[in-house]
């Protein structure tokens, strides 16, 4: 959103206010922290006059853990259900703007107070003026004319905090003081380990003597890395100071002064802006294509219905959390969860990448992961799948299934980037039931288990849609 604002481009958010995992992660997770997302849209409108449209996805009923999930398109499970009318109207407005010689953003802004359609009504909800900033919680508070914001986690877990840092900086109008109160700090908790966490998760380099002024670390544009990670960007763009606390007794372990006036943007100096990246014929059988071919080829031909799919880059919703440890709960995602009558199919998918062939070791790791998960957590697995039944009313009809068998499979490209066979002997994994090999629409199944003899089709061809890929030097 900040990027949109900086570039003065209209912004659309499609959001799912589902509550998956909130019980496992506790009340301080972003989903339950009480942060009102709409406030950020209003703040951006107030500051930049950026029109923002929010479309909410449809949600399932709550399950036994009070979870809801985004409902999915019955044919294409990676597509959430939402009000397509809004999106259609938005596309029409943007296209008509272009045809009238306007930028779509200009078109929307100029029509904002003239048209009373559903689209403009939704956009207007985010153009309300904001009152003074309220900040009196454990997470955000004011003290001596400074605004403090508490951050609970490092690494990927800092994701929600990054957005909120941008928001509070915008609302406050000047840099704020970040308070790192990490419950995932390196142990034992002491200054030395806090410095290591700071180096690894925020600064992205080792600290040196020149960074210190006594006990205080002083950072400025001249001594921070040019390619900061997302956490570093959020901290150094929005904070004048960062305090790292001892999470147990709240003493300050590390104090960092940040003297950076301007808002930092990611480093794009290596991008060739003088020309468009070339698009070429598609050649790579990546994980997306393997998963797509497995679902719309092998599984469809065998009348095995998709319950849940986690495409690469499409963060899956059905987290498996057999051992719950609050915030440190480990989540496992299975790429494809499918059902046929009382049989459950779990499939892991792997592909070549644009820059490298798939290593057989990676496939073997996935096979072992699947086998271990089934061996160690079979009861949980069956219970969890049934507890997510509202995701697939067409399979479950809102009733639990008494699964009789769980089949494990793996899908991967038949050939690597040099057209050599990816050679994996699946006989060595007695608990693996089948492997699917994919090559440009052709799929073949190798069965490894006499139990799985009811397959209607063990090979076939899926006519993939015409698509291209980007050519890199």
């Amino acid at each position: 959103m900040i990027a949109s604002a900086q570039n003065n481009i209209p912004h659309l958010k499609i959001m799912s206010l589902s509550s998956s995992g909130s019980k496992a992660f506790g009340k301080n997770s972003s989903l339950t922290s009480g942060f009102d997302q709409r406030e950020s849209y209003k703040a951006v409108w107030n500051e930049f006059k950026l029109p923002i449209l929010v479309i909410k996805t449809n949600l399932t009923d709550e399950n036994s853990l009070d979870e809801t999930f985004a409902k999915r398109n019955s044919k294409y499970r990676s597509i959430p259900e939402f009000d397509l009318n809004l999106l259609e109207e938005l596309i029409i407005e943007c296209v008509s703007g272009i045809n009238e010689g306007l930028k779509p953003g200009e078109k929307i802004e100029s029509s904002l107070n003239k048209i009373n359609s559903e689209l403009y009504e939704e956009i207007r909800k985010n153009t309300v003026s904001l009152g003074p900033l309220e900040a009196s919680s454990n997470r955000t508070w004011k003290e001596n004319d400074e605004l403090f914001y508490r951050i609970y986690r490092y690494g990927h877990g800092m994701d929600p905090a990054r957005g909120e840092l941008n928001f509070y900086r915008l609302r406050w109008g000047k840099p704020i003081i970040g308070v790192m109160d990490p419950n995932d700090a390196r142990r034992p908790i002491n200054r030395e380990n806090a410095l290591k966490d700071f180096e690894r998760y925020i600064l992205g380099r080792k600290l040196n003597v020149g960074d210190f002024d006594g006990d205080i670390i002083k950072l400025h544009k001249g001594n921070i890395p040019r390619n900061l990670n997302k956490n570093g960007l959020a901290i150094f763009s929005n904070c004048k100071e960062l305090r790292i606390l001892n999470n147990e007794n709240k003493d300050i372990l590390v104090n960092i002064e940040i003297a950076i006036e301007e808002f930092l943007v990611p480093e794009f100096t290596n991008v060739k802006t003088g020309s468009e990246t070339i698009v070429t014929e598609s050649k790579t059988i990546n994980e997306d294509i393997v998963t797509f071919s497995t679902i719309h080829g092998f599984l469809k031909e065998n009348d095995i219905k998709i319950h849940h799919v986690s495409y690469p880059g499409d963060q899956g919703e059905l987290a498996m959390m057999p051992v719950r440890k609050g915030r440190s709960t480990r989540r496992t995602y299975i790429d494809i969860v499918a059902v046929k009558e009382k049989q459950l199919f779990l499939i892991e998918s792997k592909g070549n990448t644009r820059t490298g062939s798939l290593s057989p070791i990676k496939v073997k790791e996935d096979i072992e992961k699947l086998i271990q998960f089934k061996d160690n957590h079979k009861d949980y697995l069956l219970e969890r799948v049934n507890d997510s039944k509202y995701l697939s009313e067409n399979i479950f009809n809102n009733q639990d299934i008494d699964f009789e068998e769980v089949f494990l499979g793996v899908a991967f490209p038949k050939f690597n980037l040099t057209k050599s066979l990816i050679n994996i002997n699946i006989d060595q994994f007695s608990e693996l039931d089948f492997a699917v090999r994919v090559d440009n629409g052709i799929w073949e199944v190798e069965q490894n288990n006499t139990h799985i003899t009811k397959l209607i089709a063990t090979q076939g061809f899926l006519d993939l849609p015409d698509y291209r890929e980007i050519l890199f030097d």
Binding site: M15, A70, I92, V95, T273, E317, P465
Partner: protein, 94 residues
């Protein structure tokens, strides 16, 4: 009209290509797989800097070509649990 959709998940690109074809009978839609390693970057079009110079990109971008001019049209990240975002658009190049 010509549209181009950059996708990371092929299935998800169907939402847009189908919608565009429904709205504009004469639309030609080209699908482009953008799945890349996190160290690679690509430019959607000349001088598209910096907001749309994409690194670690995971969404859909489409642009519209009218009278040989390209207009960036839409960027979409699909939602799962956390709010994701769609950025609308900026004129690109003559």
């Amino acid at each position: 009209m010509k549209f181009r959709i950059y996708f990371e998940v092929l299935e998800q690109s169907f939402l847009f290509s189908n919608l565009i074809k429904k709205l504009y009978k004469d639309a030609e839609v080209e699908l482009v797989n953008t799945k890349i390693s996190t160290t690679k970057k690509f430019t959607i079009a000349k001088n598209l800097y910096p907001s749309m110079c994409l690194k670690d990109f995971d969404g859909i971008v489409s642009y519209l070509i009218v009278n040989l001019r390209k207009y960036l049209f839409l960027l979409l990240n699909f939602p799962i649990q956390f709010p994701q975002e769609t950025i609308f658009y900026k004129e690109l190049m003559a």
